[in-house]
């Protein structure tokens, strides 16, 4: 145990008051403090301040504050969203979206996805060139007339439902793979190990959106928050 001086006390104080010093350090500090009125007073003052701060506790939030905050925020257009668009989206959310959503139930989307899958497999087996194909191109005529009209109507919401389906991801991956294969080699058949390789690509689409530039991020606010009443 070594003797310490006043100027060596200060760096130890936070840890000392948190009780985090080693046994030796603590003993050294206390040895000094016992013989030094200045440091003893300093530490006593600090303890007093900490006690008062702790005992002060938290003050109560005004009753209306939270609802005022929610009123202020949910009622207005967030940054990056023009006011007209915000109003439009509000109208969309309340009037149109529920109808569209009822049409776009998961089983409907799943059925559609399965149809797309089987059609694409038939086409592929028939030696059809999939290089230039997009997912939408694979939809048969009757699906196209019935579905794409709704797809166009539903806009962003459709994309959300659509992309969230695992099976759609797999189809997209498959398509991508075929496209890659047909551009790299002449073989149209996918290799099994390619599935794993291209998996991250499809996931990247839905990956943390907060890596986007600010403008894109703000765009995500395009669906406005509904009225406070429904929340509370």
């Amino acid at each position: 145990m070594k003797a310490i001086f006043c100027n060596q006390v200060e760096p130890l104080l936070c840890d000392y008051l948190d009780g985090l010093l080693s046994v030796t350090e603590e003993a050294e500090l206390e040895l000094h403090v016992n013989g030094c009125t200045n440091c003893a007073t300093l530490i006593a003052d600090m303890r007093l301040a900490m006690r008062y701060a702790q005992e002060a506790g938290a003050v109560d939030v005004p009753v209306e504050l939270i609802s005022r905050i929610l009123d202020q925020t949910t009622g207005q257009a967030p940054a990056g969203v023009p006011a007209w668009r915000h109003r439009f989206m509000g109208w969309w959310d309340h009037a149109v979206s529920p109808v569209v959503r009822s049409v776009l139930e998961p089983r409907f989307a799943l059925g559609m996805a399965m149809t797309v899958m089987s059609v694409s497999m038939v086409l592929s087996a028939a030696g059809f060139d999939v290089r230039s194909l997009e997912l939408s191109d694979l939809q048969p005529g009757n699906l196209k007339t019935n579905v794409t009209r709704r797809v166009a109507l539903a806009g962003a919401n459709v994309t959300k439902y659509y992309e969230n389906l695992r099976v759609v991801y797999e189809i997209q991956t498959q398509l991508q793979m075929w496209q890659n294969d047909s551009s790299d080699t002449a073989a149209p058949q996918p290799k099994p190990d390619d599935t794993k390789k291209s998996q991250p690509d499809s996931k990247q689409k839905s990956a943390p959106q907060n890596q986007n530039p600010p403008q894109t991020k703000d765009y995500r606010w395009s669906r406005p928050l509904k009225t406070t009443a429904t929340v509370l």
Binding site: E10, I69, L70, N210
Partner: protein, 222 residues
């Protein structure tokens, strides 16, 4: 009683934060923020409800006035709402991000109203003045000692310089880690600790002298 300059004992905050932040899962707040950004208003309401108390208290402790705390808390959440997209969960907790934003608003507010409050602000250099200013915190009609203590600490806090004030509030009242405070204030942990030390020392000095002066005028002081 004066404290020496704190040596740079800790690493720059960039180093210490990144080490801690990586490799931990998404915290509940980060998930809430993600939900907010998809337009989930219930998530936004939950986020507001979760953090209002802490932010209001931070604003109140810093300004010492309930009305200002009220206004500032609203400003904070308005700004959060507008800039939520810039929060990156990978770069620190939501609490740290929110506290930084609040702190910036508080400092802006302080600078704007500095002239209005030309009264003494206490730094470690001028703590000696406290004895001369001889502020009496005690009121004969105050019966509740506990309440008096709360008023005393608040009165003392608002006499600290903003640097020391925010450091002490964040540590001793908001109970943030040194690492978090260093992110919020944008200074190394060593500086944070040094400010906390000086803030606590100044506060304790004010409170001790107050207790002594009230003890002399009134036998039943704290």
């Amino acid at each position: 009683m004066t404290l020496g300059k704190a040596p740079a004992v800790s690493a720059p905050w960039e180093k210490s934060t990144r080490r801690k932040e990586t490799g931990r899962g998404l915290e509940p707040d980060t998930i809430l923020v993600e939900r907010c950004l998809t337009g989930d208003q219930a998530a936004w309401a939950e986020l507001v409800r979760t953090h209002t108390r802490r932010i209001y208290n931070l604003c109140y402790r810093f300004t010492g006035r309930t009305q200002e705390a009220d206004d500032l808390t609203q400003d904070v959440f308005l700004r959060v709402y507008k800039t939520l997209g810039s929060f990156q969960g990978s770069q620190g907790s939501f609490t740290t991000w929110l506290t930084s934003l609040t702190r910036n608003l508080l400092i802006d507010h302080y600078r704007k109203h500095k002239k209005e409050r030309a009264d003494v602000s206490v730094d470690d250099e001028d703590t000696a003045e406290i004895a001369e200013t001889n502020v009496t915190f005690t009121r004969p009609d105050v019966v509740m000692i506990e309440q008096e203590g709360r008023e005393a600490i608040q009165a003392a806090i608002t006499r600290l310089s903003p640097d020391l004030r925010e450091a002490v509030i964040l540590r001793d009242m908001q109970e943030l880690e040194y690492r978090e405070i260093s992110i919020v204030l944008g200074v190394p942990e060593g500086t944070v600790k040094s400010r906390i030390n000086r803030g606590r020392a100044a506060l304790g000095q004010i409170l001790r002298r107050r207790a002594a002066s009230s003890g002399s005028g009134r036998e039943a002081g704290i």
